[in-house]
């Protein structure tokens, strides 16, 4: 069963000055029940725009999506009831207590009093905040706020939990802890979780990832398969004479090179056996060498031709900070 099904979704924006930009460009994918799906891409790639459309607070220019089999354009209220969402920026009322925030949410979603009493205990214990339920949210740390938002997103028993960059701004320890909670939620509740991230290490935790760049979906696979498809290992060579190195690699081994920072990169099978032979046969002077198994950073680089984190603020990103309510604080 598909929890989320996105079909040919496109969202265009008009920037000031009349320039048009396509934030989400004909994107299609679906998420199976009980899956942790990671939406991976640099800032401004179109992740948040997609999330906003799924959450019914933005409208697609064309195409449609269903959440829990309800159309996001036609059955807004049903979709809203089907998702629990944690936004990139905190959307808690920090003058209310944790419990009051949950209560407000439960009332808006029509959770009755008896159910609320039971669930509040359950979700607050799930994120280890039960003891702090009567604390005013203002006094919470960033990690606690994020956990409270997850608890809040669960209180109406949604079928999909959507998290937009849930670990951004958290320290590594808190980030790991948050992942433990997410795994626990998936395991105990068989919850479908969709999250966006620009952290490659985190994407490894997902069952499947969709890689999005400049509005386009460029890959949709399990992390293991994506890495496997890279076709073996990566060898990176550094030399002062790049053109000689490239020529030699082409002539002697029939290998094409890619530039990676100050290195020339080649893809080979069984790199650990190939490397000694390579170094023996090369006449060009090599200053440094690196052998590694590909990670998702390499996958991203190979798919898009650029790295995920060195991105300068693109038009997409500049635009993303101009639209959408409540981007205050940052």
């Amino acid at each position: 069963m598909k929890s989320v099904d996105v079909q040919n979704l496109t969202r265009k924006f008009k920037l000031k000055g009349g320039k048009k930009i396509t934030a989400v460009d004909n994107v299609s994918f679906s998420i199976e029940d009980g899956e942790i799906f990671g939406f991976l891409g640099p800032n401004g790639a179109g992740k948040s725009t997609t999330i906003n459309i799924l959450a019914t607070i933005d409208k697609a220019t064309s195409g449609d999506a269903t959440v829990n089999h309800f159309s996001v354009s036609k059955n807004k209220d049903e979709v809203r009831k089907s998702i629990g969402i944690v936004f990139q920026d905190s959307s808690l009322d920090d003058r209310l207590t944790a419990l009051e925030n949950l209560k407000f949410h439960a009332l808006l979603y029509g959770v009755n009093k008896n159910d609320f009493e039971k669930r509040v205990n359950e979700v607050m214990k799930l994120v280890d905040l039960w003891e702090r339920r009567n604390t005013i949210v203002k006094n919470f740390s960033g990690g606690m706020k994020r956990r409270l938002e997850i608890a809040r997103g669960l209180i109406h028993y949604p079928s999909v939990l959507i998290l937009d960059e849930p670990t951004t701004g958290l320290d590594p320890q808190t980030r790991n802890l948050l992942w433990e909670y997410l795994f626990k939620i998936k395991k105990e509740r068989d919850m479908t979780i969709m999250m966006t991230t620009h952290y490659m290490e985190e994407a490894e935790n997902c069952d499947r990832i969709g890689i999005i760049d400049r509005g386009k979906l460029v890959a949709l696979e399990t992390p293991a398969k994506l890495k496997h498809d890279m076709g073996g290992d990566l060898i990176r060579l550094k030399s002062d004479d790049v053109s000689a190195l490239k020529k030699e690699l082409k002539e002697k081994f029939n290998l094409e090179t890619e530039k990676y920072k100050e290195f020339q990169q080649i893809k080979v099978v069984r790199g650990e056996e190939f490397l000694p032979e390579l170094l023996k046969k090369l006449d060009t002077k090599i200053k440094a060498v690196e052998l590694r198994e590909p990670n998702l950073d390499d996958v991203f680089l190979s798919l898009t031709g650029h790295e995920i984190r060195d991105e300068k603020a693109s038009d997409h990103e500049k635009m993303a900070s101009h639209i959408g309510p409540g981007r205050g604080r940052h």
């Binding site: 036609k74 009831k81 003058r95 209310l96 407000f104 979603y109």
Partner: protein
Amino acid sequence: MKKWPHTSGREGGGINMMKVISTIYIIWRREIIRYWRDKARIVSSLIQPVMFLIIFGAGFQQTLASSDLPVDYIQFMYPGIIAMGIMGVAMFSTISTVWDREFGFLKEILVAPVGRSSIALGKTIGATTIATLQAVILLLISPLIGVTLTFTGYIQIIFLMVLLGMALSGLGLFIASLMKTTESFGLLMQLLIFPMFFVSGAFFPLTNVPDWLGWIARINPLTYGVDAFRQVMLHGQIDQSLLDSISLYPIYVDVMFLFGFLIVMILLAVLAFNKRN
């Protein structure tokens, strides 16, 4: 999980009355909790009108003693000060909408399966409640001013407070829906509130002012509030013919104007809020 009957919210179709009312109640409740937690705000919005009453009272009583105002100046000003208190609180309370947008909480409300119009109404009624509460507190000092109200008088004045409060909350929410930052909202409010206050008949009778000032007063909703408040609060306090001589309209005209203004403002506020979000 309790299932709501199928409604498609603002896309039209059947609107579930119970759901609208419960949404209004939830939004209202939060406004009240936040107001109650902010003691500094409660106190400061009470101090301002009292300060006006003392300072302007002391200052103007001397100069006006020689004029032909047929009533004690502080008693004359008191209803206007209460109306001013309502205006300040009603219009500034709607700042919570801008605040919510800036701090992200508005998103939490906007992704919930509830109608936009109910949210706007909840905000308006919240601000009205707070404004009325503050005004009732100001009413407690009436014995010190020498103003006594009958039971009917209390009923009438509270009705008028709610009416004025709601009309001005609507105006506030309309403006708040158009504003991006708390700063620009605050600035615009200051710009509106002071002229509205000074040209409302709170400080001087509008029965004998130049035409241009009269016209400004006539489009000012606060004028009608002050006029009605004064007639109710000074009723039986001074001679009726004297009271009529410093009043602009019969009370029912004031009420009708305020009611019309309220309807228009609530509609505009709901429309602006829906469109913006």
